[in-house]
């Protein structure tokens, strides 16, 4: 049998395989360059960027929980300028699409970021993190109300011709409703899920473990929730989906694809095994060979429901 076809196209971005790295878990790519061949990845998604550099939260910022971890990094990032100056030169040398994850505190900031990113040729696509508090709406996250999501995505849509992928928050009653709002605002794709809000407590100190009190839950623990959301959204909305949440093996990745994801992102698992994303690509290929599947695309949404 000839080599199976791993290529996928998401929101117009052509990738050699469906395995990307998730925002905030892979730095700006360079951090892991000695552990894996970045050119074996489908795409690299950067740490979330904002207009000006962001300091992030005080320490402690992370804590392990059963089967997962909480993080309250607070979106610390170098800002768009430093990104262009210091990170793009390295990324330019890597022949793999770069998707820039970004956020803002207001709709205008989102739009301005999109405009800036639109001009960077090395950027293949934009991933909008809409889990952040909307300062104008009293801190309610853009990603928790369909109207807010619609309007911020619309603003970004009008600011760029690059592919827009909206990253959805799972902390909602109805993820499908959120997905619909993004589709209406002409997003090109959806990433799901971002972290679930959680908390850890230190009994002896009688204090929250994280300085920020709450943090985002990621890792294997959230996989069933992520799979469910991908499945629900993929049945309801006609946009390509990137599945995220607890993926650490090719089996995990392929399960997300069966559920309807056209591609996947590997997050927390990078911390545990720095070379894991490349291994997933490798194992995925082997799975296809062993099961005589000629293209990974055939598995997208192939879940059988009787």
């Amino acid at each position: 049998m000839k080599k199976p076809d791993l290529t996928v196209e998401i929101a117009g971005i052509k990738m050699r395989n469906p395995v990307m790295t998730a925002s905030g878990t892979f730095g700006y790519g360079e951090e892991y360059s000695s552990y894996l061949n970045l050119e074996r990845l489908g795409a690299i998604v950067t740490k979330g960027l904002s207009l000006s550099p962001k300091a992030g939260n005080p320490m402690p910022r992370i804590v392990e929980t059963p089967g997962g971890m909480l993080n309250a990094i607070g979106l610390q990032n170098v800002g768009i300028e430093a990104f262009i100056e210091n990170k793009i030169p390295f990324l330019r040398t890597v022949d793999t699409p770069v998707i820039v994850n970004f956020f803002g505190n207001t709709e205008d900031e989102y739009a301005e970021m999109a405009e800036r990113l639109d001009k960077i040729p090395e950027v293949s696509g934009l991933e909008m993190n809409i889990s952040c508090p909307n300062v104008k709406q009293g801190g309610i996250a853009f990603g928790s109300k369909p109207d807010n999501a619609y309007s911020v995505v619309k603003a970004v849509r009008e600011s760029t011709i690059k592919p827009i992928i909206v990253k959805l928050s799972p902390n909602v009653t109805d993820i499908v409703e959120m997905a619909h709002a993004c589709a209406e605002a002409e997003a090109d794709g959806l990433s799901l899920i971002n972290t679930l809000t959680g908390m850890a407590i230190d009994l002896q100190k009688r204090k929250p473990v994280l300085a920020n009190i709450t943090g985002g839950l990621s890792g294997p623990a959230i996989k069933p929730i992520a799979l469910r959301m991908v499945w629900q959204v993929s049945r309801a909305v006609d946009l390509p989906i990137i599945g995220i949440g607890g993926i650490g093996t090719a089996t995990d990745a392929l399960e997300f694809m069966l559920a309807g994801a056209s591609a996947v992102q590997v997050g927390t698992a990078n911390f545990i095994s720095p070379g894991i994303a490349e291994k997933i690509v490798h194992d995925m290929e082997r799975y296809l060979v062993e099961n005589r599947i000629s293209a990974v695309r055939e598995l997208v949404g192939a879940l059988e429901i009787q």
Partner: protein, 277 residues
């Protein structure tokens, strides 16, 4: 070893022994390249091939070596040693490992100590498992410099490695909170007294609990002695990717924050680079 040459490797347990109540030493096979590790660097250990615990645990390198093969034609085997305190789930599992069990290791990581001028007297200050990297450092320093080590702890059992340092011919100064070993009180008080002669050119290397480091840094500052401290922090990735392990740099303000990754920018910092909270 260049930063780019970090490794992930499977390692076999050679031995794993209690060295003091609550503290163990584990010897682990390692690839040849491990010899390039520098004192102060650390490794991230995965103690279970599953999700409990999920994340790797960071440990300083305590020692390196080569042991002779059992059979004549086998190649030499390099090893590394870790000295660890049993505090929770990960170290609890680590303790239960036997000869021939396997572990997955990532490292060496981070920046080690800068050795500095050979003529300087080298003052090592440590507590608890903070002695681990200092012992590795002492082994490197002792052949070229005059080394003293100051060891502090709550009680006798927390004072580690005294014999090991003495075997290297290094003078040790010990202090315990309860006076069960050495002088009673803080090791930094002993250090303070020792330094009061002024005179010599010195460099301080410190690793231990936060308050000990803070006070050592203050003493160094007072005496105008350069001081390197090895910090700790909760870590997820160990390679600068998650930004989970940061500490405040000296220029940090609310408006213009200066966060440094303990894993990648450290764990060893010049004490003046740190904002002591």
């Amino acid at each position: 070893m260049k930063k780019d040459e970090m490794m992930q490797f499977k390692s076999m347990v050679i031995f794993n022994d209690q060295i003091s109540p609550g503290y163990c030493k584990i010897r682990l096979t390692a690839p040849r390249e491990i010899v390039q590790s520098r004192p102060g660097q650390f490794v991230m250990v995965r103690v279970y091939d599953g999700i409990d615990p999920l994340l790797r645990r960071p440990f300083g390198i305590y020692d390196l070596g080569v042991f002779e093969p059992e059979y004549p034609n086998m190649p030499k085997q390099h090893y590394l040693e870790i000295l660890y305190k049993i505090v929770g789930r990960g170290t609890g599992i680590l303790q239960s490992l036997h000869h021939n069990d396997y572990l997955d290791i990532l490292g060496p990581l981070g920046n080690g100590f800068t050795m500095g001028n050979e003529d300087d007297e080298k003052i090592l200050v440590g507590g608890g498992f903070g002695l681990a990297p200092l012992y590795f450092l002492a082994k490197r320093l002792v052949s070229v410099s005059n080394v003293k080590v100051f060891i502090g702890g709550r009680k006798k059992e927390d004072i580690l490695c005294v014999t090991e340092f003495e075997r290297l011919g290094i003078d040790t100064y010990v202090a315990t909170d309860d006076g069960t070993l050495g002088s009673m009180g803080l090791v930094t008080e002993v250090l303070e007294k020792y330094l009061s002669d002024g005179g010599k050119r010195r460099t301080i290397f410190a690793c231990g609990p936060g308050p000990m480091l803070k006070s050592t840094a203050a003493i160094a500052e007072l005496h105008g002695i350069s001081c390197q401290v090895s910090l700790e922090s909760n870590m997820a990735c160990g390679v600068g990717a998650c930004l989970g392990c940061v500490t405040k740099g000296s220029s940090h303000t609310e408006e213009k924050p200066d966060y440094r990754c303990v894993c990648k920018d450290g764990p060893v910092f010049d004490s003046r680079q740190i904002l002591w909270g």
